[in-house]
Symmetry: C2
Subunit: 213 residues, 2 copies
């Protein structure tokens, strides 16, 4: 079976990977680049495979189609923040300090990477049920924000969490315009919007973030 | 020449307009619907013309192509706010009250219409120079925000205006998720993020807005 792989369109050995992290990572990198520069609707699986340096048939060994590539890219904009949120919810620092740390961490994630995957959040295609796992994880993240906002003693934590996320997620629009605010500045603004004094969080938040590792 | 119009693909009389506002408005309505539900990349001028109830050749009597349709839709998300901003900059109410009114007015505009044109702000296609007029008008609006923020005595009015716009423009992401905050709530949050007390603006802002007409 292994001998047949070259002739049936199986991927190259990972030694020739474009990203150096294997074919799967190459496909994700190609998807990020093409979806963010050419547009998702206009990108074919053929173009995706070509940009990843593999044949179209090989792509289907890794992903069910371009939807699956987009879904994995989108999950990557939420999953690390969910893990940070779970760590923060289990700690006992003042909730405002933990909220500050979550905002900084999440804003950094949205600002990271060569291509702004967050700019794909508004694609009409995301209404398709195949993207439900992304919407569910994003809703879980909003719940984590709401829990921390509620722990700060804010009235109507649902609206408070929406305002905080508005500031954090605006990193996406800022990147589009080529000028993003510093994550620490966004986190301070998030506390201010909740009528909380950000000075203690700004002072002790960096140590908390460093401690999360 | 007029007799030839039916056979050369000229538009119907406006009496048969789908929107009741003429063929040009029909094309814009069709563009808003298709770009926001099917995606911009996947919408052909043929589909655009069909949805507007005209022939493809007729569409070119009104617009140079689908880029021109998108450009006009995008300008419609900024132009009314620019006009409101110009009125507000010429008045003598306290700048925080005028900033509150601009936020409410702008958030209402982004929340208006059956389709969320703002969701097209992140399209990679907008990097094309044909969309420069939109980016220029949007930059003018940000300048108007900055002028009002500076008049409030805020340090670093550039960053302050960016935070205020982050809250206002998040209406776009909120609509995508089906739950938008009230414009007045967003405007209060905008003053709070600048460390300004929103109570006076919330009290006298509505009368100012009503006076603008």
């Amino acid at each position: 079976m292994a001998m047949a792989s070259a002739s049936t369109g199986r991927p190259r050995a990972s030694g020739s990977s474009l990203t150096g992290q294997g074919t799967r990572a190459d496909i994700l990198a190609a998807g990020a680049a093409l979806f963010c520069t050419e547009g998702y609707g206009g990108t074919s699986t053929h173009a995706l495979a070509a940009a990843a340096g593999i044949r179209q048939a090989s792509l289907y060994h890794y992903f069910g189609g371009k939807q699956a590539v987009l879904l994995e890219l989108l999950l990557g904009t939420v999953q690390p923040s969910l893990e940070t949120a779970a760590q923060l919810l289990a700690r006992d620092e003042h909730p405002a300090v933990r909220l500050w740390a979550l905002c900084v961490s999440d804003a950094r994630l949205l600002a990271a990477g060569e291509h702004s995957i967050g700019s794909l959040y508004l694609l009409p295609e995301l209404a398709d049920e195949r993207f439900a796992p992304f919407h569910e994880r994003r809703a879980e993240l909003e719940t984590a924000y709401r829990t921390l906002v509620a722990a700060c003693g804010v009235d109507d934590p649902g609206a408070g969490a929406a305002l905080v996320l508005a500031l954090v997620e605006n990193v996406i629009l800022q990147r589009r315009r080529g000028a993003a605010l510093a994550p620490e500045r966004i986190a301070e603004a998030a506390l201010r919007v909740l009528a909380l004094d950000p000075s203690e969080a700004a002072a002790s938040g960096p140590a908390l973030l460093a401690d999360l590792g």
